[in-house]
């Protein structure tokens, strides 16, 4: 039976564990940073000397750590893409704009163990020659911002942050930048614009890749809170040891946010890919099953922008067979291992790690209307398909929930949703707002059609 494997959440929720410096230090805090700053240039296996920074970056590459924000991009690769020859400063930004509905993992770290994040940031900053870093925290985390400010002050007063950190000659300042409550500020280039004091309009790529032309047109690394914490553990354990956790290509641990119609909603840190969706929903160690008398209807596996899985849905994917060989087979979606690769192969994604469980009490039209309302509200409005499409879908669904549906609304919604994603928009919001519509309408088409027909029948009866 899969169990939780707490690395990042190790101390969180332990009784007596507090977010202050002393408690963190008592629990071995900042020890990894001390080791990092004591690293010296060493010859690699190829005989070439490697600076401490290169050694850390290599460990991160070896660890196979993938970004925990939603896209699952390789952290080592992201760091490797940074333009280090431009002569411009390199900035590090911690993306703490946790806004994907269903996601509540970063806030646990920020509120309960802020020094772990700071240690991860100093290590990451040191590894990338960063001297100025930002924590972009969502506006609603008012208390979180205060906790971080306090933690930064503490770390500075103890010499773990600021100038000449622990006598190493390494300087790093971290600023907390509060957002004003916009989902799009979690998109890394929108976030950068926001720090620059502008509307959070995501930038076009090319040419504005953050690794080259990021904050203030300088090379910039944007990493999620959980990713930066994981960096600390990668360095602590060594890349190879970290990579032995989880499954190949889906290494380490990640925090899963379980919500919806389960008995035990909450956050669980698991080795990536070691638990299936079924484990996470039904295992007493995790969700503990549905409420009594309820049947599973659907699972949103990676935040509301991911494509929904319908209960009983089967997908054909290449998987490792019990005998160890890889082969294509048909599998129930609930038996998919919860990792990055498999869920993408199955047509959805693990995204930000937010699993939303829907039982048979949920009206799928109402669910989708709720989701679409969110995206219509949060679309920044910069590019055409997302700006107009997100509100159009929301209005159509609003109309359906008002009882004014039409039999053709399923096709109508699909038509709108099909014109938004696939690179038609500047950022991934286009996919985020259209994938739920595409997946829910196609997988629950009969419900949408039935609702539309019923509404029309009632209306014509009322008119008669």
């Amino acid at each position: 039976m899969p169990q939780e494997h707490r690395l990042i959440l190790k101390h969180i929720d332990q009784s007596g564990y507090t977010p202050d410096f002393d408690c963190y230090a008592r629990h071995g805090g900042y020890e990894v940073l001390k080791r990092v700053l004591a690293l010296t240039t060493r010859n690699g296996p190829d005989g070439k000397p490697k600076s401490p920074q290169e050694q850390i970056r290599e460990e991160v590459v070896v660890s196979g750590l993938r970004g925990r924000g939603g896209a699952g991009f390789s952290c080592g690769m992201k760091w490797a893409l940074v333009d280090r020859k431009s002569g411009k400063p390199i900035y590090l930004i911690c993306n703490a704009d946790e806004s994907e509905p269903g996601t509540f993992k970063d806030r646990q770290i920020i509120y309960k163990d802020p020094h772990q994040l700071l240690e991860g940031m100093v290590i990451s900053g040191y590894a990338n020659d960063v001297h100025l870093a930002y924590i972009y925290i969502r506006g609603e985390f008012v208390e979180g911002a205060q906790i971080l400010e306090r933690a930064i002050a503490e770390a500075k007063s103890h010499g773990y942050l600021g100038t000449n950190i622990l006598g190493s000659n390494y300087d790093l300042e971290i600023h907390v930048h509060r957002g004003a409550g916009a989902y799009i500020c979690g998109e890394e280039t929108g976030l950068i614009e926001s720090i620059e004091g502008k509307r959070a309009y995501p930038r076009i790529k090319p040419p504005y890749f953050p690794a080259v032309l990021g904050l203030y047109m300088c090379p910039t690394i944007v990493n999620n809170v959980e990713t930066l914490c994981a960096v600390k553990h990668v360095v602590e354990m060594g890349g190879t040891a970290y990579a032995s956790l989880g499954t190949p290509n889906n290494t380490g641990t990640r925090i899963v946010c379980l919500s919806g119609h389960v008995v035990r909603p909450g956050y669980y840190e698991i080795e990536v890919g070691e638990a299936t969706l079924r484990d996470l929903i039904y295992d007493p160690a995790f969700g503990g099953g549905l409420r009594p008398g309820r049947r599973l209807k659907a699972v949103i596996p990676g935040g509301v922008s991911s494509k929904v899985f319908k209960a009983g849905e089967k997908v054909r994917i290449r998987l490792k067979q019990p005998d160890g060989r890889e082969g294509e087979r048909e599998i129930d979606v609930l038996d998919l291992p919860y990792d990055f690769t498999t869920l993408i192969a199955a047509g959805s994604m693990s995204g930000s790690g937010a699993i939303i469980v829907l039982d048979d009490s949920a009206d799928i039209v109402a669910v989708l209307a709720n989701i679409s309302e969110f995206f219509a509200h949060e679309s920044c409005g910069q590019c055409t398909p997302c700006r107009e499409g997100s509100l159009w879908m929301a209005k159509a669904l609003r109309r359906m929930t008002r009882g004014e549906g039409r039999a053709e609304d399923a096709a109508y919604l699909m038509h709108i949703a099909d014109n938004i994603p696939g690179g038609r928009t500047i950022c991934a919001f286009g996919e985020a707002c259209s994938w739920p519509v595409q997946s829910m309408v196609s997988k629950f088409k009969d419900e949408f059609v039935a609702k539309g027909k019923a509404d029309q029948a009632r209306q014509s009866k009322e008119a008669a």
Partner: protein, 594 residues
Amino acid sequence: MTPTHPPSGMARESASSFRHEVSGSSSTALGSPSTPPADAIVVTVNGQKVVVPRLMPDWTGKLAPTTMLQACAAAKVDVPFYCYHPRLPVAGNCRMCLVEYGTPVLGPDRHAVRGPDGELVINKSPRPAIACATPITSGMAIYTDTPGVKRMREGVLEFLLANHPLDCPICDKAGECRLQEYSVDYGESASRFVETKVHKPKQVDIGPRIVLDDERCILCTRCIRFTRDLVGDDALGIVNRGSYSTLTHYPGRPFDNNYSLNTVDLCPVGALTSKDFRFQMRVWFLKETKGVCTSCGTGCNILIGSRENRVLRYTPRDNGAVNGSWMCDTGRLNYKWIHRPDRIVKLGGSRLPAPAWPAALAAVASALRNAPPSSVAIVASARQTNEELYLLRKLAQRLGAVSDSVPRSGEPDRWLVSADRNPNSAGARLFGLAADPMGSNVPRFAQGIRTGSLKTLLVFGEDVTRCGLGADLLAKLETLIVSDVLPNPTTALAHHLLPGCAAVEKRGSFTNVHGRVQRVFAAIDPPGDARPEWEFLRDLVMALTGHAFPDTIEGLFNQMAGDVPALHGLEWAALGDAGLTVPMQSRTPDNEPR
């Protein structure tokens, strides 16, 4: 024949039709064959091979990696766009220029793989790209005619029209609206939209010259980028989010910089309309004639929009060597005087023998013929064309007359408005009519009249009573010959009054402060007796000198170019739409040490 053009709308903004100043050379055509092959890239557009430079001018004119849009333009393949403009920073927000593309498959040796037919094997990208901002790479294949591209364009248009009011019948932009044009070219005929449209502010008075209709706005941000990044006035912006995004101006401050009306031209739809032009005329009724703005020495290239002998608007005409795609609001709106009711439309003066040109010119000729040498002075106007100034110079030489012009200056801005408010000071100097400094002879004229040595004065287009030759002095003259367009104290005292023309009523050329010689064409007919000055000056010079002069503007210009050393080598036809620059020896107010 006057080259006139139908309102071509935004079609003139294609990426290729623009000419930029590249590294100092004047008007280098993009993609000219002189590009060395080492700096060239071969790409295919819809299967057709095209060689394009690796670097091409970006919106600032600096060389930057060539974009897909520029490559498509080189291949003469149209790609529709709203937010892109060759002279604005790229925004990439309208998504109308999405194209599909592929790149060559690389073999194990990192070299491109070729198929059995010898052609590159292309790996088609699963995602489209915006042509306006995506640089090309060697061997890239761009597709603009696939079903996928067609669907993307239809999708974008359907989205743009979903919340658009579709009030074309009452919209000023109708006829030159890109939303209309592309809907016809690339859109679908019916809309699926059955929801309630988003309502936004209408008839918003955002400044003294512009009205905003936010429901028509497609949020391309052209106007915002223009006024922020080119004018340096961060006056416009977007408030609210998503489909409720609303263009607005800085609260409590009117959008009133001197370049604001360019945003009306830039607006691809009818969101920003000119208070001056709105509801005046359907644009498809306009005749558009190429001209040059005469409000200052910059000589911004313009299109004169007219109908039935009435000028209704000026819009800037693209010229990378002079004004880019822009002009100032002052110059743009400075046309109303052309139709003032008190214009001089009749031959006049106290000694008019008969109300007909032959008689009037004969009387002037005879007065001049009898004038003793050095008793004649000419005040030429630096608002006249090169051809007119050339003929006046001939007249001055024949009569042994002293001449000068009247300087006109004002505050320059840092962009298009020149301190020299005459359109042709350079011409007045080039033909030796203006004194150095300009206007310094006029006090001598006053002295001459006072002492009686100056008996005959010719005045063209200037009210000399305002520059030291008061009515009392003019009354002392034996002969005062005046040609002008509008009445003033000088015309009131004329013995011979010859009605002249506005620049939009005649052909000719002007030389701007940087020595650029540019042509103008007649958009409308002169009113009443008024005649282009070059025509009657030519008659007069021929009558007095006995020499023949060409009776066409082409012939006159070409003779002048042969006659005047500074213009050697120029030909009327070769001036083209963009004009040509001649070396400037004389000082101009713009380069005069202060």
